[in-house]
Symmetry: C2
Subunit: 194 residues, 2 copies
């Protein structure tokens, strides 16, 4: 997605060879128009898949997932990282290790919102080591849903999450795949031309 | 907003005289079409206010705020409840006590995304005791922005947050004001008829 790649080039901050900060339009400040276009792009990729539900994780997955849900006309469920007092133990849960924050979180989704007949698109803002996506896939599996694919806004192609998911036979669609960030410069994996 | 009130009546779960659970469309599962309409409603109320930025808080504020940002064509900033390792101390911060979770959180916003010339709409999913809204207002004040008002999806009119804000002279627009939830039944404050 050219518009997204341009935004990453213009506004992304390369903090190291592995850390890309896109706080100005995705992770802290959100660009609603860009998110709308992100939603349209995902909807276009997955429109014939019969999706009934989008499963994402708080907080940065919510904006792109909600815009995708708007386009596909399906509800969005966001997994919670902490247990709320108003949620009971009526939950699907999975452990997610964050390499950035160096902590493990339990993520959970109420059993009310994922069902055996759901066809699920898993979404997240970033794919790096794949831990969040694997946690969401685990939850989708516990609920016996059918996962149609994983939609990612920005994939760090030099980390192993994407390969790990694709090696499992999962369809992964990333709108921008960063191939390298050496010398502070972002280069993208070129899309295959037909 | 009739559509929202109907949704609350149909899907809201009254867990006690003070706890209303709207997990099926706002706080855990999100209804993107409803959020779009919520965004249109806020945009309509605040369209002539010259807003340049929406300030909300993760996680449940993000979906309605992003849809409002789309309609008003302005960026959305969501305050974070925990410090990220990729955020430095270049932050505005405030303490927010949660009566539901019985814990105090520091919320913070990067100084990059709020500026003295910003005209800010503060938004949140719920207004009960007003702690989150007050924290956001404190952050907006630290950044020397102009706050034009507070936009709330569901206000619990029987708790003191709304009165406290309005007594300070702040314009508070709530799309549904719950007047009472006694006997498990939600009743709304009627809007003033002209």
């Amino acid at each position: 997605m050219e518009l997204l790649k341009n935004k990453i080039i213009e506004e992304g901050k390369v903090l190291s060879d592995t850390v890309l900060k896109v706080d100005s339009f995705l992770n802290h400040q959100v660009d609603p128009k860009l998110m709308k276009q992100v939603g349209e792009e995902f909807a276009n990729k997955f429109k014939s898949a019969g999706i009934t539900k989008i499963l994402t994780i708080e907080s940065s997955g919510i904006a792109p997932a909600t815009m995708t849900g708007l386009e596909l006309d399906v509800p969005v469920v966001f997994a919670r990282k902490r247990k709320s007092l108003t949620l009971t133990d009526h939950l699907y849960s999975a452990e997610v290790y964050s390499f950035t924050k160096k902590t493990s979180n339990e993520i959970s989704v109420s059993k009310d919102f994922l069902h055996e007949d759901d066809i699920v698109l898993v979404m997240d803002d970033f794919l790096a080591n794949g831990q969040a996506a694997l946690g969401l896939l685990e939850i989708a599996k516990q609920a016996k849903t059918t996962v149609i694919g994983v939609g990612i806004v920005i994939e760090k192609g030099f980390q192993f999450g994407g390969k790990q998911l694709r090696d499992k036979g999962i369809r992964v669609e990333s709108l921008a795949i960063v191939e390298s960030m050496s010398d502070g410069k972002v280069t993208f994996k070129e899309e295959a031309r037909i």
